[in-house]
Amino acid sequence: MAAGGVSPGGPLGAYVPGTSLLHRCPPGPKLLGLLVALTLAIRWPEYVAVPAVALFALARVPPRMALAQLRPLWLFLAVAFGFQVLAAGLGTAIEVVGGILLAVALASLVTLTTRVSAMLDALVVAARPLRRLGIDPDRVALLFALAIRSIPLITEIVRNVREAQCARGAGNNPIALAIPTMIRTLRAADALGEALIARGIDD
């Protein structure tokens, strides 16, 4: 079915249900904690590494799932590591790459232990001051939810278009891929808009 089937949920919507302290912590404090942890991780990765692993264990995230969150980074980290070794030496390279790795791991720990709906509710609270500017915080939250929801939809559209091109022997022409993808995406957006109206978004 959907292309996201390869890794369970991909980077988004990869919530691991649980009842740990991290799961029960409300998203607001968790995000603030993340901010502090990220600052520490970049500055002193050597002190943050062990607590970070401990937090993963506390949240009972399966190691396979934890590694899956970091997999998209390997290539980037390898390049960064090589560059840092040449530019600043091995010690700095380990520190920089370790810092980035920890930062991403900690951020994904928040994703893994927070329901999207809880995150959206926190966003509504955070966006409340925008009401003075005439922006509805619920709309802001819905916008984010739809953006997250659209990722697998568009992935699927791209895959379908690519398959159709292959079946017709159209090769790998980027324009031949882009135009039908755009048209189908706009059509899906229309349909989604219709569904939002039917489900009472404006009532």
Partner: protein, 226 residues
């Protein structure tokens, strides 16, 4: 009760529906017709997704043109492609989305979501990303989400067109057991056997309005003629 009075529907110069008048009061109503016959537009008129160019549509006295919100609380809508209907990233969240306008307490909302998922065999998928469900499960989720808001009528626009035989039967059976009034637009003519009434559309006109057996027979004859 849904009343469609002398509705003509145009998109630009094209006439999609021509002078349709019908009162829908029965619990089970089927709508059939060839592609482009206007049945899908007819379905969208019933909850105000499409506003009539001429004539009017009322649901329990509420005009779809002026009181769309009240109408859509009464009339839920199921689309052909559940992917376009599921708006939230995970299964339980999508059901919860339907409940937002009801302003329930968090506990009550949670119970309702759990109940809806249980009823449609999705309880084990509550926290799964919606896009990883199978096609059949997605349509069940769409149904669960719409029914959680407890509408009085649900209008389904070819809900089984993308499903395999097993899921088509399953959705058909679920629809036939609902306490709600069901208006089912479909090409799966077998699903309409037990229905109270079947409307047949052809080239924008309502040409047959009868019991399922004679209406389906007449439709088959019509489609067989060149």
């Amino acid at each position: 009760m849904i009343e469609v009075e002398r509705v003509t529907q145009r998109f630009g110069d094209r006439v999609i529906l021509r002078d349709v008048t019908v009162t829908l009061a029965e619990p089970r109503i089927g709508v059939i017709g060839s592609n482009g016959s206007g049945k899908s537009t007819f379905a969208r008129l019933l909850n105000g997704l499409v506003k009539p160019s001429e004539g009017r549509v009322t649901v329990d006295g509420f005009d779809t043109r002026r009181e769309g919100g009240k109408v859509r609380r009464k009339v839920g809508f199921i689309f052909t492609d559940p992917d376009n209907q599921i708006v939230m990233p995970t299964v339980a969240e999508d059901v919860a989305f339907s409940l937002r306008r009801l302003k329930l307490s968090p506990d009550e909302a949670r119970d309702r979501v759990a109940e809806a998922l249980e009823r449609f065999g999705l309880a084990g998928h509550a926290d799964h990303p919606a896009h990883l469900l199978s096609g059949g499960q997605k349509q069940l989720l769409a149904l669960a989400s719409v029914l959680a808001a407890q509408p009085e009528t649900i209008v389904c626009d070819e809900p089984t067109t993308l499903l395999d035989l097993r899921n088509t039967r399953r959705v058909g059976t679920l629809l036939s057991q609902l306490p709600q009034r069901v208006v089912l637009v479909t090409h799966d003519l077998d699903l309409l056997d037990e229905y109270d009434r079947v409307l047949v559309f052809d080239e924008g006109s309502l040409i047959i309005d009868d019991k399922p057996a004679p209406a389906v027979a007449a439709y088959r004859t019509l489609m067989a003629s060149p």
